[in-house]
Subunit: 264 residues, 2 copies
């Protein structure tokens, strides 16, 4: 249905109590990219909040493909939302969740990010239930004005000396030919998972706790996300990463990723 | 308007990004109870999320009184919600927030709670931006089944050995004639503020950091909230507070509170 006809109750605990999870995928070559992984993660998110997904993976894939076929966007983003629904006491889910899928045109990021690299700024923060995708993004949203002012693409979360993830991406650092990414207290990114898989062809990969000092001393850095792919990071706060240019390993990963996408 | 006609956009960042604050007040003797305090707190919450409240205190009071006059409930609860609204990029507020006020019948808590006292169960948690009322209640909601199973009224948040607050109330402990309540990393409860003010008539009051060990050794305990008033706590996890009965000081506070309400 058109967006204007879709409506949520003002008593939905997705609004009143922030009780909701979501997932987000893009299309590549007109196909939903890595849908199986996204659906599996949505199921994990739902389970953590004790919500039932109202459809199977096959039914989900059918609806998503139908949405894509109906929309003339060359590239689309698809957002799937599951909330606790309207609750009779405004608190405890009654067992009838709200579920919807939104399709939108995909606005690509400026090419300069991929050519020259982007900047992150750090914040002392760890996402709540970091292994799943709740809708709790207050910290990221309230810092968006600061990001604009500082010309940063987004906030990088650091907790107790450890780098975790950025507001909507996973982070990787490069030291020599080694690619290192935080293992714990982060989202199981679908693009991260893919990068870890295809990186092995050329590089050594380590998934483990990463200190912020290690990131500051890295040769290169990049972030990964469904709507970003592999995106180079050349500055963190006031400090340049490596020589401040997009490095060889990051370029290698961008090419491996582009090849995978092309053949998808 | 009737609830069935009210609707929120599925793209509202109050849903998609949990970017929302609210406040909650009750009526006493047909009047909105402590409306000035609630409006001031709503304004503080809005400011922290850089959202603009779309009306003045006077206009708010007028609307609330109109809603009360139109509804035949003897006791009502009034929930005021402010979200970031529909955002063109699904992330950054465009500056047109969503604002609404819901009125509902107030379902009073069982009298047994006030006569015999209630139980809390602890969780290792601190609310995000604890001094304001965001809609982020995932931790409380997902623990509601556990509370029912354990016959607890709600979850008590404890962080790094310090007692903070319960899921929707402030906590007080009693030692001798002293009433002690946590000062930091908690919501500025309106009922808490009132209790601190009227307690001085009879008791010594301390507002300061409180260790969980101190609460476990307390003579009495109670919680305060707009929809609970002063509610005695006689058990925390598997441990009885004091002699497990509603104590003298708690009873005194319940009477002081009831007197204040009667004269409101």
């Amino acid at each position: 249905m058109p967006e204007a006809r879709a409506a949520i109750s003002p008593r939905d605990i997705g609004v009143l109590r922030g009780y909701a999870v979501f997932d987000f995928l893009v299309t590549q070559n007109g196909k939903p990219f890595l849908l199986d992984d996204h659906f599996a993660r949505l199921r994990r998110s739902a389970k953590e909040l004790r919500l039932a997904l109202p459809l199977s993976k096959a039914a989900y894939a059918t609806v998503v493909k139908k949405l894509i076929a109906r929309h003339p966007f060359r590239d689309a983003v698809i957002r799937t939302v599951l909330t606790g629904g309207v609750s009779s006491n405004g608190f405890v889910p009654d067992g009838i969740p709200t579920f919807y899928i939104l399709i939108e045109w995909r606005k690509k990021l400026p090419l300069a990010y991929y050519r020259d690299g982007a900047k992150l700024i750090t914040a002392d923060y760890q996402r709540f239930l970091p292994h799943i995708k709740t809708t709790h993004y207050i910290e990221a949203v309230r810092n968006s004005a600061l990001c604009r002012r500082k010309k940063a693409i987004e906030i990088l979360y650091v907790k107790e000396g450890y780098v975790l993830e950025s507001a909507s991406a996973n982070i990787f650092l490069v030291k020599g030919k080694r690619i290192i990414t935080p293992r714990d207290r982060v989202l199981g990114g679908i693009t991260k998972k893919l990068v870890l898989k295809i990186a092995h062809k050329k590089f050594v990969v380590e998934e483990r706790p990463v200190r912020i000092s290690e990131l500051r001393d890295a040769d290169e850095a990049f972030i990964t996300a469904s709507n970003k792919g592999v995106l180079p990071i050349v500055q963190i706060d006031d400090r340049v990463v490596g020589d401040g240019r997009v490095g060889e390993v990051t370029n290698g990963m961008m090419h491996l990723f582009a090849d995978f996408v092309k053949r998808y």
